[in-house]
């Protein structure tokens, strides 16, 4: 899946983002960000809290404007790409509408985009089949578990065939078992649809398991410190998490994060990231899937 294509779907050039009130202190959330993402790539943004990874995702999605620099998507400025509905978004919370059934939640973007009813029905069935929730179409969100709700959110994000899927720590609120299962599910969907994915996470194993490339960021100011190619063979499954190469890459990403963290003050959240990764690794070694 890392087959070299010259075709950059997302091109981020010279992006800076400053936050600050008038007269107050200015925070540099992002500094000098350059990144090309190829068609069909699965790119993870990883870094400590405050490194601006979620901000960068929102800049790509035209939900936040960069202070300087540009983002183009499919050769268009990202503002136009958003109007063209090029983005599917998945947030940490499922953000399902309580008053809509599972089916109607998936149909929401299709309604807004003026699809006719027959096509909406067909697509909702198809997408819920894809995330294996075909039996829950008429349920309300509160009747589903957290992992199931997030699968509905993924079905909704993919329903209108956007060219890019932007995911902001989508499994951060799930327990470890569910998270691993969801990782597997996302890979399966990605392989079937060939969609380009930008995935924000603070879990090293998750980033390594999923990605074609892992973009390592550091905080204050937020910038890209490393880009690590993940050359694990595909399709990836439970066994992938037990391969020697997998652990090497996890270590590589962890060290890249630590190097980036050297610039931050002591006790920075980088340590937390590394610490948080170890129990996951133990579980992977235990072969729980």
């Amino acid at each position: 899946m890392t087959a070299p294509t010259v075709d950059a779907v997302v091109r981020i050039s010279g992006v800076d983002k400053l936050f600050g009130a008038e007269g107050g202190a200015v925070t540099t959330a992002l500094q000098g960000i350059n990144l090309d993402i190829r068609r069909g790539e699965f790119v993870s943004l990883i870094g400590p809290s405050g490194c601006g990874k979620s901000t960068l995702l929102r800049i790509i999605g035209d939900l936040i404007q960069p202070t300087t620099g540009t983002v183009t998507v499919n050769g268009k400025l990202c503002a136009l790409a958003r109007r063209d509905r090029d983005y599917g978004m998945v947030f940490q919370a499922p953000v399902l509408f309580d008053w809509r059934t599972v089916e109607d939640n998936v149909k929401l973007p299709l309604e807004l985009m003026g699809w006719d009813k027959a096509r909406r029905d067909e697509r909702a069935r198809e997408m819920l089949g894809l995330v294996e929730l075909g039996d829950f179409m008429r349920h309300y969100p509160y009747q589903l578990s957290g992992g199931m709700q997030q699968r509905v959110a993924i079905a909704r994000a993919l329903s209108f065939e956007p060219s890019i899927l932007l995911m902001d720590e989508p499994f951060g609120a799930l327990d470890e078992m569910t998270r691993e299962r969801m990782n597997q599910e996302v890979l399966r969907i990605w392989e079937r649809t060939g969609i380009t994915v930008v995935f924000v996470t603070h879990s090293i194993p998750e980033a390594v398991f999923l990605s074609s490339r892992v973009v390592v960021m550091s905080a204050r100011p937020g910038r890209i410190t490393d880009i690590i190619e993940i050359d694990l063979p595909r399709p990836r499954d439970v066994d992938t998490r037990e391969q020697r190469r997998y652990f090497e890459l996890v270590t590589e990403v962890r060290e890249a994060l630590r190097r980036g963290g050297d610039h931050a003050e002591p006790g920075s959240p980088v340590e937390d990231v590394a610490a948080a990764a170890s129990p996951e690794r133990t579980m992977a070694e235990g072969g729980i899937g």
């Binding site: 939900l63 953000v95 309580d98 985009m113 829950f136 509160y142 009747q143 578990s145 199931m148």
Partner: protein, 282 residues
């Protein structure tokens, strides 16, 4: 348990009909028991003379007064209750429509919100009941509209405050999601803000239903047509017919409860998905 109980990934299974009734009985039994005990103790206390000089009729006397004066006599209670309910509903409709309109304006325009919302919250702390004589003066003491306007003013503020909250307190990620679909403000209002505001609206409406009867009865205390609950309370009390006074008060309470339950029923029909309903359901 049925096959549905073993759905994968721990999906909650709806309870069967019989177990739901069983739980309902267990849920309401203590309340009913306390009510019956209270009425019984009241009856015994009055009959045994413990209440002494306090003019308190026994529940049985009140029941008799209610039956005697239901349709006939100097104080026809059923007619009075219907007239009072008419005022309450009329006022509720006026106040709710006005409140919802203002809420949409305040939700849409930040300046209107900053200006009006603190005012509305402040005004709801004012004893609005004090306006009753003015309303009678403005809209005619005999005209039921004067009582309706009293009610309208009373219910207006909770409606404004709650509906504005419902329209504006939307999950930030939901707004981002709508923006990622390039949805217009009008679409966001229709698809997200209004459904989000419905539970807030019904919460306010339940409060308003209770307030509306208070407003109507207090308005009646200050004069007007005599066949209304407020006048019956005032006149029967001054005629020392406390059994009728109590009958009128209980009838007002019963009307209020029925009114409230009707709104709860409408709420269940309109927003069956709402969480607080699911939590309350025994």
């Amino acid at each position: 348990m049925s096959v549905a109980a073993t759905t994968p990934r721990g999906v909650p299974v709806p309870p069967t009909r019989s177990s739901r009734w069983g739980r309902r009985v267990r849920f309401y039994a203590p309340t009913v028991l306390v009510f019956v005990t209270t009425v019984a103790l009241w009856e015994i206390a009055v009959r045994s003379g413990v209440t002494g000089g306090v003019p308190l009729p026994a529940p049985s006397q009140i029941a008799d007064a209610l039956a005697e004066n239901w349709a006939a006599g100097r104080w026809p209670l059923a007619k009075a209750a219907a007239a009072t309910l008419f005022e309450a509903i009329g006022g509720l409709v006026i106040g709710t429509v006005a409140g919802v309109l203002v809420a949409f304006a305040t939700a849409r325009y930040a300046t209107a919100r900053e200006l009006l919302l603190p005012l509305a919250i402040g005004a709801s702390a004012v004893p609005i009941i004090a306006l009753a004589p003015l309303m009678n003066n403005w809209f005619g003491v005999i005209n039921p509209l004067s009582k309706m306007m009293m009610v309208a003013v009373l219910v207006f503020f909770p409606i404004v405050v709650n509906v504005t909250r419902g329209l504006t307190q939307v999950e930030p990620a939901a707004l981002e999601l709508m923006r990622s679909y390039a949805a217009s403000e009008g679409t966001i209002l229709r698809v997200l803000r209004i459904p989000n505001a419905l539970p807030y609206f019904f919460t306010a409406l339940k409060v308003a239903a209770t307030l509306s009867l208070i407003g109507a009865i207090v308005g009646e205390y200050f004069g007007g047509s005599s066949d209304v609950l407020g006048r019956v309370v005032v006149q029967s009390a001054s005629a020392l017919r406390f059994d009728v006074t109590w009958a009128a008060i209980l009838l007002a309470a019963a009307t209020g409860i029925v009114f409230y339950l009707v709104i709860v029923a409408i709420e269940r029909l309109v927003i069956p998905w709402h969480a607080s309903l699911r939590a309350q359901e025994p």
